[in-house]
């Protein structure tokens, strides 16, 4: 298990404040944060390449803060692959084993086995410069995994790969982690990537760790408004709650679930807002009348923005109901949602 205790670092414009984080053994953990937040620096501190200003790095309870990188067995994979341009793919993959005193023939054999696993066996004799981004990143992955690291550090590994290669590589990463039961710590700014890969995700904003949770939990209960906004969540309202079950937002009362006096925000899940042409009776406590301000594609669904006077709501609807309701700009609709569709924080 990896444990960070109060890790702090100033590095140019980037400042990391007392970071506490535990990464469990055999876990796929994703560090999620906007680009340019210094996530690479965190990985390089874990690898021992940069010394933190304060704090400790522990592995299985042992303090390794000042251990040399080559003694840690934390292999690194960079966004730009960082393959050795003067070596063949075979020599690149064998590099770590050769560094640890494995004989040439054994290293070559193990390199080949890993290459076969990752589907790059046919590239072994090639030079990195002649290969695609996806191929290069798989070589970088093979080069790291062949050393059987205790922890694999991945710095935006998919960011430089083209879209077609990205999905395949993403699947391979997940499979590789599950098959080898290696602890992966993966840094990214891409939320979908984090949702797909992470057992647990840690959100870092403005140099502070905001929330650590499973991807589902992260979306269900974002810890604060910044996290919610970073996750791209729609329908976050500033509210005041005076009595349980009710919140006031800009002159409108909303029935909510699980509010208390500390509640500052309400998130209404856009896929649970129902649009209709006529008002209808239901157990849903919230119903607002308004008109369609605009709509846009959102993946397989459509995001319809409804202007309800004091309130603007975004609903996610299917194409079928979009056509059924004949939605167009200015169309009068009713937006209905249950109190259980809200989340207070």
């Amino acid at each position: 298990m990896l444990e960070l205790r109060g890790i702090a670092k100033r590095y140019g414009r980037f400042a990391l404040e007392a970071l506490d984080l535990k990464v469990m053994s055999n876990e796929y953990c994703v560090l999620l944060g906007p680009s340019g937040a210094g996530k690479t620096v965190i990985l390089e501190m874990l690898a021992g390449l940069i010394r933190p200003d304060a704090g400790q790095v522990l592995w299985d309870g042992r303090d390794i803060t000042s251990a040399a990188p080559e003694t840690r067995r934390f292999a690194m994979v960079y966004q730009d692959y960082a393959l050795f341009p003067h070596m063949s793919v075979r020599a690149n993959i064998a590099f770590g084993l050769r560094s640890r005193g494995v004989t040439r023939t054994e290293a070559a054999g193990r390199a080949e086995a890993v290459a076969r696993n990752l589907g790059i066996a046919e590239l072994l004799a090639r030079r990195p410069a002649t290969m695609s981004g996806g191929e290069q990143q798989r070589v970088a992955l093979a080069r790291a995994m062949v050393t059987e690291p205790k922890l694999l550090l991945l710095d935006e590994p998919l960011a430089a790969v083209d879209i077609a290669g990205r999905r395949r590589l993403r699947d391979q990463l997940k499979q590789l982690q599950q098959r080898t039961r290696t602890t992966f710590l993966h840094v990214t700014h891409d939320i979908d990537e984090a949702m797909f890969l992470a057992d647990r995700a840690a959100v870092i904003l403005d140099g502070r760790l905001r929330q650590v949770a499973s991807p589902e939990e992260l979306f269900r209960r974002p810890s604060d408004r910044d996290v919610a906004r970073f996750l791209g969540m729609r329908n976050i309202l500033d509210v005041v709650c005076s009595e349980p079950g009710f919140c006031r937002a800009r002159g409108v009362t909303i029935h909510v679930a699980g509010s208390d006096v500390a509640t500052r925000h309400v998130w209404i899940r856009p896929e649970e807002i129902i649009l209709s042409g006529q008002p209808f009776d239901s157990s849903a406590r919230n119903q607002f009348h308004g008109h369609v301000a605009q709509y846009s594609r959102a993946g397989d669904l459509l995001a319809v923005e409804v202007d309800c006077g004091d309130l603007e709501l975004t609903a996610l609807v299917t194409y079928a109901s979009f056509e059924c309701l004949a939605i167009q700009k200015g169309r009068q609709v009713y937006a209905t949602f249950k109190s259980s569709a809200t989340h207070c924080f």
Partner: protein, 280 residues
């Protein structure tokens, strides 16, 4: 020349878009400078007859002088490489207190007068200095001997080597070295199997430059050793004692040899296109 051509086309491209007169002007001005370098060398070479040249080449005194010059400069270069390459690596990779002072000190030999450099060296390796007297007693003559000539050449030409090595190591992406460390390589292995193989062309370029600079050194060498005579000293001595015609043949011979070596080694050290792409 190839480099000049490519610069020419870039300026042309700019000129067509914005200011036609500027490209033309820059071309004319630039040509003047190139001519300024080529003209004296060409004039000297052309005014030297083939028979003068072969006569000079046949002289035992000239031959041994050229051999001495080439060997002393080569010895100086090889010896300094052992010290200069680690220093270049350190300067490229570490940010330590006093680094900029070290950088300035390394450039000192380029900016001071070389005769002054020779005098300064005398105070360290002269007969009455500690190093000079110890080495003389142990049988290695410095002043007035090849070893002293090599020291003088090294002093004035080593900045080229260190700076080239530093630039070479700086061009190696640091991430390559970092990733190597996480894969289990010690700093020494990172240096020998990642940094050095990727920077060797620049280092070789620096060695060539240092060698060429050592061969052509006059000021510092003549103060350390008038005899045995290196070729630049011999050119001066013949000009002084026998006049222009006598000195010219030796000068042309040395310039020819220098340019020949320079061209061959530059071709060897040229970076192939593919590895350039790999660097990026």
């Amino acid at each position: 020349m190839a480099q000049m051509d490519s610069i020419g086309t870039t300026t042309e491209g700019l000129a067509r878009r914005r200011m036609p007169w500027f490209g033309l002007l820059a071309g004319v001005v630039g040509s003047c400078l190139v001519l300024f370098i080529v003209a004296p060398l060409a004039g000297m070479t052309l005014s030297c007859s083939l028979s003068d040249l072969s006569a000079a080449a046949a002289e035992q005194e000239v031959r041994s002088s050229i051999r001495l010059t080439l060997l002393c400069a080569m010895f100086a270069t090889v010896a300094c490489t052992a010290f200069g390459v680690p220093l270049g690596y350190l300067l490229a990779r570490r940010r330590f207190r006093g680094r900029s002072l070290v950088l300035a000190i390394i450039d000192l030999p380029i900016i001071i007068p070389h005769s002054a450099a020779g005098l300064a060296l005398l105070t360290v390796i002269g007969r009455h200095s500690l190093i000079g007297s110890v080495s003389e007693r142990s049988g290695l003559l410095l002043v007035g001997a090849p070893a002293g000539i090599a020291v003088a050449m090294a002093f004035v030409s080593v900045p080229f080597l260190v700076n080239a090595a530093r630039a070479g190591f700086e061009a190696v992406p640091q991430r390559l070295e970092r990733v190597a460390r996480t894969l289990g390589a010690t700093p020494a292995r990172v240096f020998f199997s990642v940094a050095l193989p990727l920077a060797w062309r620049d280092i070789l370029g620096g060695m060539i430059l240092m060698w060429a600079r050592g061969i052509s050194e006059f000021g510092a060498v003549i103060i350390i050793a008038y005899h045995p005579m290196t070729t630049p000293v011999m050119v001066f001595q013949r000009f002084k004692d026998y006049g222009l015609d006598s000195a010219r043949a030796v000068a042309v011979l040395l310039v020819g040899i220098c340019v020949g070596i320079f061209v061959v080694l530059r071709l060897l050290a040229r970076r192939p296109k593919a590895s350039e792409a790999g660097h990026a």
